[in-house]
Subunit: 206 residues, 4 copies
DNA sequence: GCTTAATCGAGACGGTACGTCGTGTCTTTTC
DNA sequence: GAAAAGACACGACGTACCGTCTCGATTAAGC
């Protein structure tokens, strides 16, 4: 969920007009992330974020349209601070690589440090389509492109049929994890392995 | 989550004490469902429901612990008003039946009458684990049992391997639909067909 | 300035609709009066009054349209708590009686307990004509009637000419005190005496 | 109350340091006067003045300590633009001259162009004793001196007793007008005449 | 049928947070 | 260096809802 976003490296706001205070911006994102982990999305308030960040409320309202947007930027900042290697592993064995990646995804979803904030962001997006669209564009689409690239590589190597539907494949592989996470069901590495095995069989044999 | 009202098969009152007004109850659920469709979950308020239903706020607080719970009951009432035939079709062809059922699911998810309320309920559950647990118990588990029964029937008929993991199969089949719905992506009957075909191939060949 | 207002003894709000909390009302008026004495009108805030009174802000906004109106009611309450004798003294000597009354007025205007609140109320009325009108009707007019009655009594007793302009007389007698008080000039009993002596001479000799 | 601008007779700058922009200063005073006439003192804001004057807020804060001070200077500028003849008329008849002057005062107080700004300034001074002191010193005292001079001239001419209290006389003459203006009562030339007649009678006969 | 106790519509209450406005200070850029 | 511009921390505004708490007025149960 957080690998490194190549797109839009610096929105270029160093122009004359808005002389934004970078320290305040970071304090706000940090406070928002911390607070949502402590109290959850429903009890996350702009006032609370401002107080924790040592910032006036107006400074938040000036730059973000909603608490969901603040939360989203907090995620974005986290993702951009992440590793600089944006590619999925490609050892030659698709099945082995997918097992690795899906097990890592499971580990992340289960990590209590990320569970609450991610649930909060999901809740925010569920009823704010603008936010959902921005998430899709800024985080989901780049990630999907990496996945597609890995699967295309496997297809070119003959591990998958030439006419395989890559987007369908991605959905079949990752959505079961997301779904179980949302439902609060048990999410284990073994489950990830089973998904990989079954879906790859289906894709090859279809 | 206390003081839940009895589910459909028990229209009588719990005990002698509370003489609950059934008309008010229905008005509240109807108002909640309508309002959430109009303004979304974030702007749904107890006061708004009470006003729309022509009811005192206390009448809501007396019987439900949160607006999420009201919403949940509104769904429950809807579900109980629905079909009297709880079983999935079993024509002998698993693939044909699943196509039918998944296409129906797609149609429902796409229907604007249900989209907003369902997103709202999802948002409510995302940050209220008690609500999520009750949803799981009252709506999800029974539905899952029906799905499991149909797949077991197919397994017994030889359409699936004897050692097939039914829960995995259910997740592989339905989660891609839910996932796309959540993400706001395009959700078509053709997608449902592709999921059925590929997953069944995987299950048979694994 | 505070003698006892005969008009409107109980606005009769004991009807069914608004069940107003009398304890909160008194707490608000008390807090407003105390606070305006401590910080002045400019720094008097609704939030401050609410906090001091141990009351929600909405309870103030529900019953008063502005902080000036709260202040006005605080004065009204004070005036109504005052003595039950609404008449000005009538010993037979107009000059002696006026000296007494104007000296009392001077004493009140100079009293630091009343100076700040009265300045505050004056400031509120200066830019709120509605408030000024209510002040005129509820406090000023009744007081003026008492003054007029005493002067009429003196006229009937032959102490003033038969064609004396009573309203002019009242203005000539009391406005110099108010004027000096507003300007922050020195306000002494001797000044009151001089005003009485000169104005009475003018009224008699005109 | 620091950093006051120089009064009329010294148009040059105070010292070499501050190179004050005279155009901005006038724009600020004009804007303040206009705005207070439009929205009243309570809704007069520094930001509003700055915006209307096309000036940065800091330019106001640099030279004035409060919005009341700006308003006061606006009045001062107005007064200094006024007549070059500072003396009250002296035709030989005190009564005729006072009638003239008080009728002029009435006309000014009734003029809607001046009513609002003057109420605003009064409100500002009511709760800012520093401002009141400056008003007293810069506008009230000089005016009072003119009045005293005219009354002294009358005393020396035998129109008033030799031991007349000039300050008392001034208060008796002008405060009724101010008082009625403040109270919003009717203010007519006839009232001014009646005041003059009665007060002069009192002063002569005392 | 009469009593009585819980439920009902209504809405005031002490609170929390909202999103906006204005304060007075500060910094950056321009003249 | 003053000035226009405007971001900033702060505090108050007036509003919306929260969840709790009275109020009569139904209203159905059990006497």
């Amino acid at each position: 969920m957080a690998k490194r976003i190549p797109s839009a490296p610096e929105p270029a706001r160093e122009r004359s007009g808005p002389r934004r205070n970078e320290a305040s911006r970071r304090a706000i994102l940090t406070a928002a992330f911390a607070l949502v982990g402590e109290v959850g999305y429903a009890r996350l308030t702009i006032e609370g974020i401002a107080a924790r960040a040592g910032v006036g409320k107006q400074t938040i309202y000036r730059w973000w349209p909603s608490k969901g947007a603040v939360l989203f930027d907090a995620f974005l900042a986290l993702a951009e601070d992440g590793d600089g290697d944006p590619a999925l592993p490609d050892t030659g064995s698709l099945e082995a690589d997918l097992r690795l990646v899906l097990r890592a995804t499971v580990a992340e979803l289960v990590d209590p440090r990320y569970d609450r904030p991610m649930r909060a962001l999901s809740a925010a997006m569920l009823n704010d389509s603008g936010l959902a669209a921005e998430y899709e564009q800024r985080l989901e689409a780049p990630m999907r492109e990496l996945k597609r690239a890995r699967l295309a590589s496997a297809r070119d190597a003959g591990e998958l049929p030439a006419d395989v539907d890559l987007d369908l494949a991605i959905d079949l592989l990752w959505s079961p994890l997301q779904s179980r996470w949302l439902a609060g069901g048990e999410l284990t590495p073994a489950f990830a392995d089973a998904v990989v095995e079954t879906v790859l069989a289906g894709l090859r044999g279809s």
